[in-house]
Symmetry: C2
Subunit: 402 residues, 2 copies
Amino acid sequence: MLRRTLFGLAPALVMAGTRRPWKEVERMIETGGFKGRLSVDDLPTPALLVDLDALDWNIAKMAAHCKQKGLALRPHGKTHKCPEIAKKLVAAGAVGACAAKLSEAEAFAKGGIGGLLVTTAVIGQHKIERAAALARIKPETILCVDNPRNAAELDEAARAAKLRLNVAIDLYVGNRTGIKTGAPAAALAKEIDGLKGLKLAGLQAYAGHAAHRNGFEARRELSRNVMATAVETKKLIEAAGIACPLLTGGSTGTYNIDCDIAGMTELQPGSFVFMDIDYARIGGPDGPVYKDFRHSLTVLTTVVSKPSDAEAVVDGGLKAFSTDKPFMPIAKGIEGIGFAWGGDEHGKLNLSKASRAVALGDRLEFVIPHCDPTVNLYDRMFGVRGQQVETCWAVTARGMSQ
Amino acid sequence: MLRRTLFGLAPALVMAGTRRPWKEVERMIETGGFKGRLSVDDLPTPALLVDLDALDWNIAKMAAHCKQKGLALRPHGKTHKCPEIAKKLVAAGAVGACAAKLSEAEAFAKGGIGGLLVTTAVIGQHKIERAAALARIKPETILCVDNPRNAAELDEAARAAKLRLNVAIDLYVGNRTGIKTGAPAAALAKEIDGLKGLKLAGLQAYAGHAAHRNGFEARRELSRNVMATAVETKKLIEAAGIACPLLTGGSTGTYNIDCDIAGMTELQPGSFVFMDIDYARIGGPDGPVYKDFRHSLTVLTTVVSKPSDAEAVVDGGLKAFSTDKPFMPIAKGIEGIGFAWGGDEHGKLNLSKASRAVALGDRLEFVIPHCDPTVNLYDRMFGVRGQQVETCWAVTARGMSQ
């Protein structure tokens, strides 16, 4: 804060070297040798920041919840794409990590994470070859399947590689991917049970539309209804004498709903580690704002133009924030700032109602509309406590959508 | 096409090795040794494809236009972020490349591109240190300035480094960054003229709101009006005896408007290399569709789930396409496909009016809503002619928003 004030009042002091030179900062970031010596004000913007106190708090809360409810926790890694955060979750009790795509799972495996569940079906010769290679390194990996032909192809590849691949049947409970619950899923389970190269781990039931349903009661009703069909399917498979131990699903929006559905064995929430504006607005049991987890993720920007007293332009636009939600970034620590997209590279601020003055060169932090696709824009995230930068973590699975 | 058909009809053939193994494809992609041997069907999806015929056509058209109009062409590299495309543009006659941010310019410089113009002001000690380092390697680099304090800081850094930095005054003509045209800009020009470390290259006037104004006549009127103020500012500066050779601006939407404004010396369009759905809808002189350039950029996806006859899910969602425009990706080569976002990882297709059947494992190409932020999601793009993959180019400046 001292430096920022000096910069605002006396640029010559900054130029004279108030901050350490960029070359030194760059070297510290590259090598990681900066504990306690690097300030948030030293970071090049736009930068992705993680408040480590809030992150730790969120992780501890979800881990304690699952432990108390007797459920496994396999947090979805598509949110953070960061092996270091996956390791923190495992240290807190998680059984592993979900990965949205095979290439994301490969990145986690390289980063030392086991207990992987790939939540999208692995389709086509090349992806199947890669899945078999992954299973050779991490034999406990579970792949999702929703189609008999894909199951047959996985089986053939597994037998050719002298492997047995764990598969979970992906159920159509979220209007997206999956096989229909009930008889179609049970028939697929029977087919899989007859394939020597595959082992049925159980079922995946992810209801994305329930996760974001506004209002706690409406969300509870929707999630209970759709998950009931998954529970029934599990019973149907077990009644046929086929072991079906796993029923994985749930989200940050339904973690405190799905945990009470008899038959669920595992939760796979992702966004709780960071939270975002979109999730905050879905409502909690006690009101319209969902407060179960803390906002730990922000984007740090710099004011790079000041066209008038009431306007400022920051260096974060469509390439610094995801834009799939109808919400704008919210400034942290200043009230009354209006944000509008200023194209690929800029955010336009309306300062007419701002609670404090904003000057050229000021560094502003913004809470983000949607965490997952925003994280996917960055190669690294900086873990901070207050103004101190403690860590720089590689977003290893950034761009791994294959 | 043969392989795709086989896969649809006889998966066993594919499993038996119709395609070369993934390890071989991966090695070919890594080393680049695949000319004429790699098919689009071999690429892992989602993948960013560039139709090289369309790209070459677009580049040739814009280069010929600028040559005919006697204007310099400095295409904006924030669109492609790819030194190989910047080199193609220079080979066609471009004087260099624009870069939105300093880190993007650094990436282009490392990729062998000169004639750089950094279109966002370089603010703060560290960025100024980096700009001076860039100017040492590429002395012709031009930096944008819109504030006297920033000019003074750049001057101090330049003199300390025994350099002279080229600067262009960024004018506020697009409701975003810049100093007001007329007297404020002329006063800044006078200040810069008095600073030994800086050399005034001229003016930048980028009117983003004009670029995307719908309807050719409305766009022409708007662009002419705002650019007139830039031209007047140039005259004002020159009338004060200060050399102001450069007036750079223009866009894919106004390249054929701004070229006829007396006083403009340079165009800096970006999107024309790829085109996108957003630009197609702004209208041309001959109708509601803007047809001056061809769509060269697509995202290739795979159908990874087929919940019903009328539904398919592809493996491209919010992390495979930018979502800042209110348009959906459009399938190439199939009519009547409805597209809806299926979360971070998936696109949901409505096939009820599709002109042909779509099966699990099919590979579908989509024309994209907005090119720049979509390119920013990928580490590489594949240059294709028909079904043949000719090149794999690194998107070197991907993520370089600093």
